[in-house]
């Protein structure tokens, strides 16, 4: 069964590049570009991993993450968070909200791939 990643990112060219990279790694990649209904989309897609941008239209990635961690079935879902704000307080906020990995833009493709591989490996070992 193929592994599925849900990429919630409103920047289409970033989404396209990540989709290309992960598809080549054997991931099935779904993309969603809006924060408003992101939680419902996550519930519907049932991904193995979520890549979540912080600044999204409708609802911020930080709020989505907080809500997601309060839902029993999604509480342990690996979430890789992407942000253009790399300040320590943002990182702290993300960690408090329950992020699995935090990555600042502009990131390298290798960083994304390594993070995805690591998070998936950790999740499958649990």
């Amino acid at each position: 069964m193929s592994r599925k990643v849900l990429l919630i990112e409103d920047e289409p060219n970033i989404a396209e590049a990540i989709r290309f990279l992960l598809t080549r790694e054997g991931w099935q990649v779904e993309i969603h570009g809006d924060g408003t209904d992101a939680l419902q989309v996550i519930q519907g897609a049932q991904p193995d991993l979520v890549i979540l941008d912080v600044m999204l239209p409708g609802k911020s990635g930080m709020d989505i993450l907080r809500d997601l961690r309060e839902m029993e079935e999604l509480a342990s879902l690996p979430v890789l968070m992407l942000t253009a704000r790399g300040q320590s307080r943002d990182r702290e906020m993300a960690e408090n909200a329950g992020v699995s990995r935090f990555m600042t833009k502009p990131f390298s493709n290798a960083e994304v791939l390594t993070a995805v591989r690591d998070l998936h490996a950790q999740a499958t070992q649990m």
């Binding site: 590049a17 290309f20 300040q87 502009p106 390298s108």
Partner: protein, 430 residues
């Protein structure tokens, strides 16, 4: 760099020009088989033949030789070295630059831009924390840089990339390069102009404020039944700014109708400019009287008067500065200003003497009033606004209570203030 790829570049350029090998050979006066050897880098080329081939291909000879490529290759090498966690194929670098000089140049240019922007990020981080517009601009730049970095790395590192994907990524790169150029330019404009007195950064309220200042806050066109359309808004660059200005001017037009200039001048001359007396005399609400007094010509009120207008969120909608009373440009004003305390008691006129901390101890008399700006409907809460008139006081009577206020927490030295939002950047006792 070794001059081993001139032939490859000739082939590349010939294909771009849509010429067959035989055609180019004929134009250059050599045999097709000799050109074939050159194109496969099996014969060195220089001198007149190089010039002839370059002429036939309509390019500078240097494009076919190593000059341009050396710079490119060095820039690409730097990009590869800076790529954290990426193992670029440095052995294939010359071939990449030789076969795709245009895209290699784009990649090198983008790398230089990313390096420069990353350097700026650290310097700007403090301002980033306090300026939402700058935060948005930086987010745009960094997101675009992220897209360029990922896309360029895919193009550079993936040997077996399908043509359809390659074409799509080339298109994305071009799109992002354009976007990055625009957002960088906007950012530079923002930074260049943020210290000037008039700040046309495209923020509608600031553009409107600058417009009102150029008019000295006086609009004779709106007196005697004049219409807003008679005011020239040509100096306002954006539709949003024009809409905000028109809305404010409509309010001033209504104020002028309710309180005709000659009658106001006559009343002020006889009775003085007390807003509550004016409101009673002209049977208008306190907000109308305050706005009218604040925006009267100085020939009538004899001294400059300031004004602040805000909504129930505390966001400042309009400012008329007055000397000695500091008003922050980006909102976040002192919560102790009477314009905000009036919001706690809508429809009750507030009058306070205030002095701003940390400045020459000038005293100001502030009149403030909050009123329901809209009637949303039955059983629906109205949206309140509040207006404050700020008048310098030459002499205060001994028994007048004076409230200490600031302009903005960051530049306010008062360390005992219970309304403080964030620490001051000023040292204690400044």
């Amino acid at each position: 760099m070794r001059d081993t790829l001139t032939g490859s570049r000739i082939r590349e350029r010939r294909q771009i020009a849509g010429l067959r090998q035989a055609e180019l050979a004929r134009l250059a006066g050599i045999s097709a088989s000799y050109l074939n050897l050159i194109e496969h880098n099996r014969r060195r080329i220089g001198g007149k033949l190089l010039v002839d081939i370059a002429t036939a291909l309509s390019v500078e000879p240097s494009v076919l030789t190593q000059g341009i490529e050396a710079t490119l290759v060095s820039a690409l090498r730097e990009a590869a070295e800076d790529a954290v966690g990426q193992q670029a194929e440095l052995d294939g670098l010359e071939e990449f630059a030789g076969r795709f000089p245009g895209w290699a140049a784009v990649l090198a240019q983008m790398h230089r831009r990313v390096v420069s922007l990353e350097r700026n990020v650290e310097i700007l981080s403090d301002r980033l924390t306090h300026d939402p517009q700058l935060a948005d601009s930086m987010h745009e730049v960094l997101s675009t840089a992220a897209a360029i970095r990922s896309t360029a790395a895919i193009l550079a590192d993936t040997e077996d990339i399908e043509a359809e994907w390659r074409e799509r990524f080339h298109k994305n790169l071009h799109q992002d390069a354009e976007r990055l150029a625009d957002s960088s330019k906007a950012l530079v404009t923002f930074l260049d102009e943020s210290d000037t007195a008039v700040d046309p950064r495209g923020v509608p309220l600031e553009e409107v404020e600058a417009f009102f200042q150029t008019r000295n806050f006086i609009f004779p066109e709106l007196e005697d039944g004049g219409e807003v359309d008679s005011v020239d808004l040509g100096n306002l660059n954006t539709a949003a700014a024009r809409a905000v200005a028109r809305d404010m001017l409509e309010t001033l037009r209504a104020d002028a109708q309710a309180m005709p200039l000659d009658a106001v001048a006559s009343f002020v001359q006889g009775e003085g400019p007390d807003p509550i007396d004016l409101a009673r005399h002209f049977s208008v609400d306190m907000a109308t009287a305050l706005r009218r007094v604040a925006l009267l010509p100085e020939s009538i009120v004899s001294e400059p008067v300031g004004m602040v207008l805000c909504d129930a969120s505390g966001s400042i909608l309009f400012l008329k500065p007055v000397s000695g009373f500091a008003m922050p440009r980006h909102g976040e004003a002192c919560p102790l200003w009477p314009v905000f305390t009036a919001l706690n008691r809508p429809l009750v006129p507030v009058r306070k003497h205030v002095v701003q901390t940390g400045r020459a101890s000038a005293t100001f008399e502030c009149f403030a009033y909050a009123w329901p700006h809209t009637v949303a409907g039955y059983d629906q809460d109205p949206a309140y606004r509040s207006v404050m008139l700020v008048r310098p006081v030459q002499e205060t009577t001994g028994d007048a209570a004076v409230t200490k206020v600031g302009s903005n927490c960051r530049v306010c030295p008062s360390n005992t203030c219970t309304a403080r939002r964030e620490p001051s950047i000023l040292s204690e006792g400044f």
